[in-house]
Chain length 222, copies 4
DNA sequence: GATGAATGAGGTTTCATTCAT
DNA sequence: GATGAATGAAACCTCATTCAT
């Protein structure tokens, strides 16, 4: 399901690589269990004892690796934000360095890539999103990664597209917010609000691509 | 602060009306305190004792009115969803029953209305959003209100606009998702990610209106 | 066993008066249990669960009254230091305001009083002594009570005795240290190092009185 | 710093000699760390993990040398009590075997010796004192050393002095208690209640000597 | 001989909830 | 109707100790 454009990191970023901090098998199981339970029940709604049970370890084992429950949360969330997000950027650059016949092709490449990312890491992203308002530590990571690693290259690319007349001359922040909003709307619909309906992912993705392209495309003569 | 277009419910839905369940001053203070703390710290992250202290009542007083903590959550969230949302719809109908020179004017009327709504109730909405994944009760209310009270009239209106050639012929779900996504992106940026930057609300709103109009406007000849 | 000179506080300072903070019977039982266990096993060596069990209450009951275990320690120790010690002083003043045929009679009155005090409160005193090095809070109380309420009147009395030629002209600190050291040596021997031997309290007290009198009495011609 | 009268053991009893049980550098570091932490935080208030960290070894290393934490406590405290105290006695005997012009010279020699001892080992003594009530093992050592090695020769010497008319005919236990009480009062003031005041050690020691001499000296004609 | 990982038992504290007054 | 006291259960976390490597 991952198209070739998705980039190399998809294959590499197995959990073993992602959780390179975890030296032991048990440590990895702790992270796996925490990831799943935090995603399902929220951070505050999950007891460390539940995580321990699900991981098949003692509760004390958790606290050997993480001084506090909050440290565990960071331990689960940070790698994805720190390691994966920058890898994404590298891929975006690859995508953008190619030539596209029109904005639509570009958006299509981007969206396919992004939805694959969301599909792969949706549980961690869900946790990060849910806990963002309550944990300054997570906000700090997001701020840092975004401002330092995502915003500058993305701005550059947007400026480039706008210079070529392929995109409306909107502020880069607004462009990014638009793409993120619409993609997130798609993802929320798809992954977080499971309404049990059948979901034709490919078709939906095409519609999303169309919407973004239309919203951001160059102004036509009225 | 609420423009005239905002509709009648704004004036009516003071907290006293909203919390019509609350017969006594104390009851209202409990709901106020719970609203604020749930919004700030999340449901699971807020102790009933904290709510009691902030409300200036005994903990037992809370449990006189609500059998369980979860009941209190519902008591805080449900009125807005049940009372306010339908009132919104009534207003939307009013908005839509008028004639507009073009889609843009319509979207403008809608967006102004919606952002006022978000501004007014953003804390309750935040709670509802945050707790949606964890509480079937809230999901049920949202489902019910949405499916029964919001979706049908909105669909009808969308179909109407599409019939008039003012809007792309997209599925009503997608149209609504698009409006919601972009408005929510705006609101999140505005209310939940306080980055401390100055924020020119009127200008930003114009941009939002432009984006939605462009995304959903009728297909131009290529 | 308390001679008339012992003063009024002995009769008054029952635990009910001492623990006036304790509104409930259970609260008092908590303080009683904590007092006993801290004295027997030390603060760090006593679990709150043990205190709860001995008091016949739930562990949570302890933490309703005292936010932390340390607060409980202070709650046990402070009243004796704050309420009883100053009452002592008042009595000392009474003792000293009388006329005595010689230093020995004065020391006798004092020692009887002091040993009665130690006998009455030896467990709290033991705790205070044991925990003094580890808890700045207790040190602060001792400092305050001593410097503010004990030292000044005692100094005055000592100066008075020295002026009358009844006592060696030593610094008041040293006089007090001598009395306290010898009395404490007596008390430690008597109450804290239970060597199981029979102990003729009255006779020992006489010896103590003699020693103090001799040590502090006026210099004889050599 | 140690005057000549202090005796031979001062030079010998470096920690290396004292902790002759410790074969390795690490073992010695463990004992050093335990000594310091037990003195500062008490036995029950010190975690083995803290000791390990301060010693720069693994926690397991501690348990290689000592089966339990209590064994470590004994390992820290016993040598001083078993090795140093008897050495003291030997010195006392030396001191006492000399002839003194009067009781005061004798007391002076003793006190100088004893305060030097306290200065040298005050941390171990502090631990022993603190933990005495809670550990039968320590009490047993103290009892044994005292009853077997200190009491008999000291009694003999006291009897000797009393026979020579240099000392009041008090029970040897009381004589020893008096000396210990007053010296301990001095030491507590000096080492354990650091009140931050300047402290003229030599002058204070003279006063202590005077007090003991006066308290225990022969009865003058009244 | 030393360690890092692991743990069972238990530490203090908090929680939502009940109940006598 | 309101409260302060009370609590069982469970929260997070720490402890002394063991053991495979």
């Amino acid at each position: 399901m991952d198209s070739g454009a998705t980039g190399r990191y998809q294959q590499m970023m197995t959990d073993e690589v992602l959780w390179s901090q975890a030296g032991t098998e048990k440590h990895r199981r702790i992270l796996d269990a925490a990831l799943e339970m935090f995603a399902d029940q929220g951070y505050a709604g999950t007891a460390t004892s539940e995580i321990a049970k699900k991981a098949g370890v003692s509760e004390a084992a958790i606290f050997r690796h993480y001084k506090t429950k909050k440290d565990l949360l960071i331990g689960v969330v940070a790698p994805v934000l720190r390691v994966v997000a920058p890898a994404l950027i590298a891929d975006i650059k690859g995508i953008l360095s190619r030539r596209y016949p029109d904005l639509r092709s570009l958006v299509a490449a981007l969206v396919v890539d992004r939805t694959a990312f969301v599909r792969r890491y949706h549980r961690v992203l869900r946790i990060a999103l849910q806990e963002l308002p309550f944990h300054a530590e997570i906000r700090a990571i997001v701020d840092e990664v975004f401002l330092r690693e995502i915003f500058p290259p993305a701005s550059e690319t947007i400026a480039d597209l706008q210079a070529r007349g392929e995109m409306m001359p909107l502020a880069p922040e607004l462009v990014m917010r638009t793409i993120i909003s619409l993609t997130a709307g798609f993802a929320v619909h798809r992954y977080f609000l499971r309404l049990g309906e059948p979901f034709d992912e490919a078709a939906e993705r095409e519609l999303l691509i169309g919407l973004i392209t239309k919203a951001l495309g160059p102004e036509r003569a009225d």
